[in-house]
Symmetry: C2
Subunit: 125 residues, 2 copies
């Protein structure tokens, strides 16, 4: 990943409204959410929402897909992983023991402990 790409992506997240949108989309998963749904949930005026969605999409961190009259926005989890990788790359001279093994720590907290059911039911879309 190039540094300009990373800066762009981080900049997209470095804003309260956008970060809120992003987290909502992270929760929503690969299916994403329609713009209107996001605006309704977060109570953000249309124009403002559109501005931020465009900003998120511009970075590639979030993708958009038209479906009927709605536009669904979803996190691009692959890009997200790229970004995380970029941030931790070569940490501590390549010796995880040196740092707190940042990623491992985050991994342990990624998803709350749960009985792993194999095929979850969908709720949306």
């Amino acid at each position: 990943m190039e540094i300009k790409t990373a800066v762009l992506a981080l900049g997209a997240l470095a804003q309260e409204t956008r970060l809120t949108i992003f987290r909502l989309l992270v929760e929503a998963g690969p299916e994403g959410l329609a713009a209107g749904c996001i605006g309704e949930t977060l109570k953000v005026p249309g124009a403002t929402l559109s501005f931020h969605l465009k900003e998120l999409a511009r970075t590639g961190l979030v993708s958009s897909k038209q479906e009927k009259q709605f536009i669904y926005y979803a996190v691009d989890f692959e890009r997200m992983a790229d970004l995380m990788t970029y941030l931790t790359q070569n940490c501590c001279q390549g010796m995880p023991q040196e740092c707190l093994t940042v990623v491992e720590t985050a991994l342990g907290r990624c998803c709350p402990p749960q009985s792993k059911s194999k095929k979850p039911k969908r709720t949306r879309r």
Copy 2:
């Protein structure tokens, strides 16, 4: 982690010079680097460097410690893990299978494959 904290941290990283500094510090590990050393490596004017270091430190993502006439800056890896956690929390309705298990992906790429030597030698400080 509170959203304001995350926005602050992400904002600190969302700038080319600062991100470069940050990555340098990530590589350097918990020992960190002296301000002057960073400036020399990156060829950033003192005033500019100071501005950005202060910005990084303000977020808590980077800590500073005076040692003799030098000031050492180092990544706070715990805070960094907190940030990563915040970004991935509750991904895909808590079912990692749904997304690409972002963090796991990143983990696989964190440090390059290597023969794990137990006690690496230090070079700096």
